[in-house]
Amino acid sequence: MAELKEARDAARYHIAPEGKTVLNVRRLNLFYGKKQALFGVDLDVYKGEVLALIGPSGCGKSTFLRTLNRLNDLIDGVRIEGEVLWHGENIYGEGQDLIEIRKRIGMVFQRPNPFPLSIYDNIAYGPRIHGIKDRKRLDEIVERSLTQAALWDEVKDRLHASALGLSGGQQQRLVIARVLAVEPEIVLMDEPTSALDPISTSRIEELIGMLKKRYTIVIVTHNMQQAARISDRTAFFLNGYLIEVAPTPVLFQTPQKKETEDYITGRFG
């Protein structure tokens, strides 16, 4: 426990001395029925950082990520203890606005999942449902979101063609644009490049580098090189425990815990 706190303090020191946090996860336990998947996780997310979550398969990275926008609520038999504070308020507290939470804490999934609609309608889907009807404003939102997702130039001539005709990498950027269209503050990404080829992957990585100027990003990745390339801090999970979190170079060069060292030197996982 003491060491964990130390790591967290170190992180604070390295990233943002006057550190503004946007999320504070406190003593988070999660159960799938009787099976516990997360054990007392304590983790802060800083404004404007890219935080990578790494760890072997099945250690709870996706589960953890999905607690941050309450997407686990959907699954039957899930029970959650502890708190996830978003600007100081527990998103699991009473009277929380689930719609607002999910709008402002967006999510990109492992497999690109555009709707079977046109490119335009994919992006406009969220804003439309949230009440924007004006065609001109929708046009603006679509253009802005696609531009931010570095896709505008490739698709501006075929906005009304089906999104399913795009390549996998383009689809993933489309999905990112779809999230940006509802103006999130935090973007959660669950292995967004694991279904993509290397070129598409590096485009997404570049994109993440640009997005972090405006958004806070929490990204799960299987790929330690990727974590090293794109993230400011890295958190290492094992068997449902958060083992260590530190600025990325620190975690990879001088891990404090033996488990972390074993993992990053490839001794398991």
Partner: protein, 296 residues
């Protein structure tokens, strides 16, 4: 070597069974057409049946069939899709859901004659309506609801989970996600279910004999006010349908051309049901293409 021979024998047996099925279908439909088509004419389709002489038609019956079908679908589709949505999206796994599911199972395995007798008790006698088109439509709804619920539920469940999650993660409510992501994607399956249901309803006789009745009340095809007693659209009149008519004419028909009328009506019935099936196929394929392509 042995396995190879066994494999060949199995293949041969399956091909034979397949051929037999095709043969039965083609033979049956062909026979019905050969017997019935010559009797189908404009006159046959539009004139009322005769009492004792030859040359009567099936006009009112055809109309009644379509009207009963229309009312049945009007009741079955919304309730069936609603039930499908409930089972796929809201019902958890509690005892109530399990009970509901087995109730639907049982309902779907009831023979239609039993549904008809239930209809007689409830929609004819208990309500005091007598034989009515509405009673027939309600009985058919009971008969078809399980199929409609099940196909809707399956269609909704078959929409990939990540589509639903994508929508929810954009801050879209569960209900809006259902109406704007799940239902559009499930529409081809739902339409298929609805059309197959329609085909079943159109050909159904047993559930209608004791509910919509075996006689067509006198109607005036110039009066289209649903509330006037002689109107064909009045749901509270008795209305013999095509399928019921076939049964009646061939079992107790007094007209000399009873066999021809039954044959013509049967051919018509088969054609309509086949058209429903083909329609289900094309419409759902077309809808699927439409749903997965550009929308605006």
């Amino acid at each position: 070597m042995n396995a190879k021979i066994a494999d060949r024998i199995a293949t041969a047996v399956f091909v034979l069974i397949a051929l037999l099925l095709v043969f039965i279908l083609v033979g049956l439909v062909g026979y019905l057409m050969w017997r019935g088509l010559p009797h189908i004419s404009w006159h046959f389709l539009t004139s009322p049946p005769a009492f004792s002489e030859a040359g009567g038609g099936i006009g009112p019956q055809l109309f009644n069939s379509i009207y009963v079908l229309f009312l049945t679908m009007l009741l079955t589709v919304p309730i069936g899709v609603g039930g499908g949505i409930f089972l796929a999206e809201y019902a958890g796994d509690g005892w109530l859901t399990r009970f509901l599911r087995s109730a639907i199972e049982v309902l779907s395995s009831l023979p239609s004659i039993v549904v008809g007798l239930f209809g007689l008790l409830v929609f004819v006698q208990y309500t005091g309506w007598g034989y009515t088109i509405l009673g027939g439509a309600l009985a058919l709804m009971l008969f078809n609801l399980p199929l409609m619920v099940r196909t809707s539920e399956e269609a909704i469940r078959s929409v990939p989970r990540d589509q639903k999650e994508a929508s929810l993660a954009l801050g879209v409510s569960h209900w809006r996600t259902i109406t704007s992501v799940l239902l559009p994607s499930a529409l081809p399956g739902i339409v298929t279910g609805a059309i197959l249901t329609a085909g079943r309803a159109f050909g159904e006789a047993a559930a209608l004999m004791f509910t919509a009745g075996m006689s067509s009340s006198r109607v005036d095809f110039t009066d289209w006010n649903p509330f006037s007693p002689l109107s064909p659209l009045n749901p509270m009149r008795s209305g013999e349908t095509l399928a019921v008519n076939i049964w009646k004419v061939s079992s107790e028909g007094l007209v000399p051309d009873a066999r021809e009328i039954a044959a013509g009506a049967s051919a018509l019935l088969v054609i309509v049901v086949l058209v429903f099936n083909l329609l289900a196929r094309f419409l759902s394929r077309w809808l699927y293409k439409k749903m997965t392509a550009s929308s605006s």
